[in-house]
């Protein structure tokens, strides 16, 4: 049977009432869990796992898949409305989404985010359907040096994000990477930078850092400035959603979808680097690149599309190789295993109906997500009408519960409060916070890939450059860095020339 016939059969199954209902419930659960900073959708999936025991294997996968799709989007709702990324991948949504909210364009921001996410997810689901097999072969050739190179590309995008002050941004990034080394090292299992406190061995979790830096510091500002978040009349008029907006960001959505679909296939890369890299690239490509961070729609659309575009492609290695690239896909693997379904190349031969029903359901889920997203977003937007003090109190409680909920560890609450203060000081002094967070997220990944690469290739440093894929990615990273820094280099050069000329004149 051709892919189209198989997919048609899959759609028939996915449109069955029970399947449709499963998808809708899963989506709602996912969006809500994603939007609540406390409950990560990965936890929601883990909690849903026992409920899937009584389901048929396909239905179980639809349920978990729908939570996954909804959850990856849901994080952006809280990112846009209250500047708290509900999931790490929604971090870039804070950078341009929240400024839009501050201008009173919350509806517009949410509409763009939902549409971009849906299109990204849809693209990815189509990629999953048609290119699963060839992609899988390619992904398997990715070894640790390639993962390292991809992570370096993510780290380099920091420079693009804040190119006006590269020195300070780099310092912030390196601090973040250092913070990421606190705790038990992944290779030798020894504790680093714990200063004699056993609690520190748990390490500094990036979600906790993120919540502290963004949410807590924001709320302190809120109470100190008595700012009113309620949109004014004039702002509401600007906040209207128009179709022209969508047309404007079509390029950003397309680029984001492409980047996300490709990165999602790489095990371990996932939604967060996908979103960040898409943001960095969009900042370079866009006409308004230098205004990014002030509430530019393209800066919101690209990472939104990219992060949801990783959902479908992340299932490629899972279904074709049985390799879960993330915690979310690991739970799906566990669900399949508990049902006696073994993902791998044989699954496509033995049970194509199941595989293509999952594909069809992923396509369907991304379309239905628009409605689930609007519903939950509506509810969250009404929250904006409450007085700022009340809103602030609840944001802090949600943040603290969120920090606690990451690992159910009280130590994380203290870390969160600490980074809340750090974030507040950084904000007051104009020290960039985004590179620090990225360092905490990507640093530990980069270290792991780096160390394992060396162990695997005889401690040979050149392996990163001589392996074709890794070498290509690293050269791309270098080009990207120079491309982003070029305006600064030119400006610096000019100012130095001017200065020297001035001295000569005086």
């Amino acid at each position: 049977m051709s892919t189209f016939e198989l997919l048609g059969m899959g759609f028939q199954n996915a449109f069955a009432l029970s399947a449709l209902l499963t998808i809708v419930i899963g989506l709602m659960l996912g969006v809500i869990a994603g939007a609540l900073p406390g409950v990560s959708f990965v936890n929601a999936m883990a909690m849903a796992l026992p409920f899937t025991y009584s389901m048929a294997p396909t239905q179980a996968m639809l349920f978990l898949g729908a939570i996954y799709v909804g959850g990856v989007f849901g994080g952006s709702i809280s990112a846009i409305i209250i500047n708290v990324p509900g999931t790490p991948a929604s971090l870039p949504a804070c950078w341009d989404g929240y400024p839009m909210t501050q201008r009173g364009e919350v509806r517009r921001a949410l509409a763009v985010a939902i549409l971009a996410s849906a299109i990204g997810g849809l693209t990815s689901a189509l990629v999953l359907s048609f290119a699963a097999a060839p992609f899988a072969v390619f992904a398997l050739r990715f070894s640790q040096p390639e993962f390292f190179a991809a992570t370096v590309l993510g780290l380099i995008s920091v420079i693009a994000i804040s190119k006006d002050r590269p020195i300070v941004s780099l310092l912030s990034l390196f601090l973040g990477i250092l913070i990421g080394t606190v705790g038990v090292d992944p290779q030798y299992g020894v504790a680093r930078f714990t200063f004699g406190a056993p609690a520190m061995q748990s390490g500094i979790n990036f979600v906790v850092v993120m919540i502290g830096l963004f949410a807590i510091s924001e709320v302190i500002d809120l109470i100190a400035t008595n700012r009113d978040l309620r949109p004014s009349k004039a702002a509401s008029a600007r906040g209207q959603v128009s179709l022209r907006d969508f047309w404007e960001v079509r390029g950003a959505i397309a680029r984001g979808s492409g980047i996300g679909s490709i990165l999602g296939v790489i095990p371990g890369a996932g939604a967060t680097p996908g979103a960040v890299i898409a943001y960095g690239i969009e900042k370079q490509v866009s006409r308004d690149g230098d205004k990014f961070g002030t509430g530019i729609m393209a800066g919101l659309a690209a990472p939104e599309a990219a992060k949801n575009a990783t959902t479908g492609s992340a299932m490629v290695p899972l279904l074709t190789l049985g390799i879960p690239g993330s915690a979310a896909t690991a739970i799906m693997l566990a669900a399949m295993m508990l049902h006696g379904v073994n993902p791998g190349p044989l699954l496509f031969l033995n049970d194509p109906t199941m595989v293509y029903t999952i594909f069809a359901a992923m396509i369907l889920a991304n379309i239905l997500m628009i409605f689930a997203g609007i519903g939950v977003a509506q509810f969250f937007s009404t929250l904006m009408k409450t007085p700022p003090a009340v809103l602030g109190a609840f944001i802090i409680l949600l943040s603290i519960v969120g920090a606690y909920g990451v690992r159910n560890n009280i130590f994380d609450v203290y870390v969160c409060l600490f980074f809340g203060l750090v974030g507040w000081v950084m904000k007051r002094t104009g020290f960039p916070t985004a590179p620090l967070v990225l360092g905490v997220i990507l640093g530990p990944l980069a270290e792991r890939y780096f160390m394992t690469s060396l162990a695997n290739y005889n401690q040979d440093w050149t392996v990163f450059f001589t392996r074709p894929i890794s070498g290509t990615i690293l050269s791309l990273a270098a080009v990207f860095a120079i491309w982003s820094l070029w305006p600064v280099i030119r400006a610096q050069y000019r100012s130095v020339v001017l200065l020297l000329a001035g001295r000569a004149g005086s």
Partner: protein, 316 residues
């Protein structure tokens, strides 16, 4: 003034409540939810085991058993939480071999004396696997190649200082010198031999069941005193002339050390009953971890032996 009166009212309310709750005893244990701390994040082997047994135990104990994932510090963050919880039987935790091995490397502030092991519910020997397209058809070929070319073959493991590492070091001491390549992310480790990134993988069969059933992995040898009933054709390390200390990967349930005897006995009985259910038998068969459950003091002793075996290796 009104605010003061409200505060006063609140204090009275609290005092009254305290008087009412003071009298909970072990007789009606359990009468509220029992928290099961899984000491690793969602999606891993400990998590799947914890959620599985929690579901079975709920039916027996008659209360809900919510699973809490407390990851970090090789499982020690969760154990610290377990240790500092009231020893009233309302908090259980998973204690697994990886965490016990981490104590030997100086991680965590927990010792085995802080806990009472209810029972070892899963235990499995480890294997050396290769990908199906590997040139090594048998363990003899692999060992021969490793002896002839020391340091050439690479083995994907979970890290240095683990039982994986101990096994490889013991083999290297006997002339079979292979390079330990630590992959701390399980998914990447499983993929390493398939993508041709490492020659061999050291792993327990339960975690790579899908690759065994699909035929993508070939089992070469088992680190156990006897052959595994599910893998009758796979020779043991001893049969191949290697002298090894066999360290199984195990997962246990534990409570704080001060838990009263009657509460502990109730949990022990429930765990024994749980491992006899069809649901558990199906689960352990699938993960190749079925065993005669070892509970109470015998389980405690087994875990202790494991700890000293790892610590002895590190002290060399």
């Amino acid at each position: 003034m009104t605010k003061f009166r409200r505060t006063l009212f609140g204090s009275v309310l609290i005092a009254g409540a305290l008087a009412m709750t003071g009298a909970a005893t072990a007789q009606d244990y359990p009468n509220r939810p029992i928290e099961l701390i899984v000491t690793f994040g969602p999606g891993g082997g400990a998590d799947v085991m914890g959620r599985q047994i929690a579901q079975i135990l709920e039916a027996d104990l008659g209360v809900s058993i919510p699973v809490t994932n407390v990851g970090g510090a090789s499982g020690n963050a969760g154990l610290t939480r377990l240790r500092t919880s009231p020893a009233d039987g309302y908090t259980m935790g998973t204690l697994i071999s990886l965490t016990v091995a981490s104590w030997a490397s100086g991680i965590g502030d927990n010792t085995l004396d802080d806990f009472r092991v209810i029972g070892i519910v899963q235990s499995t020997p480890s294997f050396l696997f290769v990908a199906s397209d590997s040139p090594f058809e048998t363990a003899e070929q692999l060992l021969e190649h490793a002896r002839a070319n020391p340091g050439e073959l690479t083995v994907a493991t979970s890290g240095y200082g683990t039982q994986d590492d101990v096994a490889l070091i013991t083999m290297a001491d006997q002339g079979v010198d292979m390079v330990n390549v630590p992959f701390s992310a399980p998914g990447e480790r499983y993929a390493a031999p398939l993508g041709g990134h490492t020659d061999v993988i050291y792993e327990e069969p339960g975690d790579v069941g899908q690759f065994l059933e699909s035929g993508e992995y070939r089992s070469l040898m088992i680190f156990a005193a006897e052959r595994h009933p599910e893998f009758p054709d796979v020779p043991t390390a001893g049969e191949l002339g290697l002298d090894m200390v066999y360290l199984n990967t195990f997962r246990t349930l534990a409570v704080p050390a001060a838990t009263p005897d009657d509460v502990f006995a109730r949990l022990e009985a429930a765990v024994i009953a749980a491992t006899e259910t069809d649901q558990w038998q199906a689960f352990c068969a699938q993960t190749y971890t079925c065993l005669e459950p070892l509970t109470g003091d015998a389980a405690q002793e087994e875990v202790n032996t494991f700890y000293h075996a790892i610590a002895a290796q590190l002290d060399d």
